[in-house]
């Protein structure tokens, strides 16, 4: 349900950012990573370049690296087959398929992700093709959807003092750069705040 609404808003806002309806649908079909898609088109909508947009999408997706590594022992078959199976990793289904102690129910993962994929594509199509019937996205307040969604992803991440410090530093770096740097660069530069993670700490969290 929430995924469908977010997909719908992605479709609407992608059109606003200059995408064709087909383009928005193709992006959802072949990228299938909500927060990365949101990050990329946020930067395009703000006037940023495609390099910055792809960079932000890649950084946003970096969390899939440890998630994929955790999943790896539960997959089987050739390298190509495992690469394909790894594409099914999305936050919610990965978390639900986690059985603890490093084991994952891969069939549950594939099934849960397939459902999300259909919802994601259907919502994007509805927003991209039908969104113009809604009227001006700004009048409707739809431009608040992405940042509000990002807030709902961020707050649960702020469990410890280090995450809070990193989030604050990232926000300050971005705000300081907004008036002077090209759009997109402030977000990329904010990722430097994560370099504090190079410092060891006692309890490592596995996945973001």
């Amino acid at each position: 349900m929430a995924g469908g609404v977010l997909a719908l808003s992605f479709g609407v806002l992608a059109r606003e950012a200059g995408f064709s309806a087909l383009g928005a649908l193709v992006m959802s079909a072949i990228v299938f990573a909500g927060s990365a898609q949101f990050a990329a088109i946020s930067i395009i909508a703000a006037g940023g370049g495609i390099g910055a947009a792809i960079g932000a999408a890649a950084l946003m997706n970096s969390r899939f690296l440890p998630m994929g590594i955790a999943l790896a022992p539960s997959l089987s078959g050739s390298a190509l087959r495992r690469a394909a199976q790894g594409q099914s990793v999305v936050d919610a289904s990965w978390a639900l398929a986690n059985q603890g102690e490093g084991r994952f129910d891969r069939h549950f993962l594939f099934g849960a992700s397939a459902v999300q994929y259909v919802t994601w594509l259907g919502g994007t199509a509805a927003g991209a093709f039908g969104g113009s019937a809604l009227g001006d996205p700004r009048t409707l307040g739809l431009d608040a959807i992405f940042p509000a969604f990002f807030v709902s992803l961020l707050l649960p991440e702020l469990r410890d003092a280090r995450s809070r410090g990193v989030a604050l530093a990232g926000a300050l770096i971005a705000l300081a750069l907004v008036p002077v740097a090209p759009a997109g660069v402030p977000v990329l530069a904010a990722s430097a705040a994560a370099l504090v993670g190079l410092k060891r700490q006692h309890a490592q969290r596995t996945a973001a």
């Binding site: 495992r82 926000a171 705000l175 994560a194 993670g197």
Partner: protein
Amino acid sequence: MSAELWALIAGCAVVTFAIKAAGPVALGGRDLPPRFAGVIAIMAPALLAALIVTQALADGERLHVGADTAGVTAAGIVVWRGGSVLPAVSLAVVVTAGLRALG
């Protein structure tokens, strides 16, 4: 739609595929170096915070507090108090649109 945006879509698809494939293909059963894992673990808070402030507190290249700032703050309060994504995002939209309608 411009060729640049198609290139953006292709670029995002390639990096997403590569990142998702890397673990299962290359690093199966092995752990990331702890320092590298430490950086990735806190990448999300840094990026999310930056995305939020550049959208809710800025308008293009200037800092700007507006109706959307209030809407996003309202969403933050909902999530902070244990609410889920959908009510939070819905409230953000309603507050933002409402304030704009009041002008």
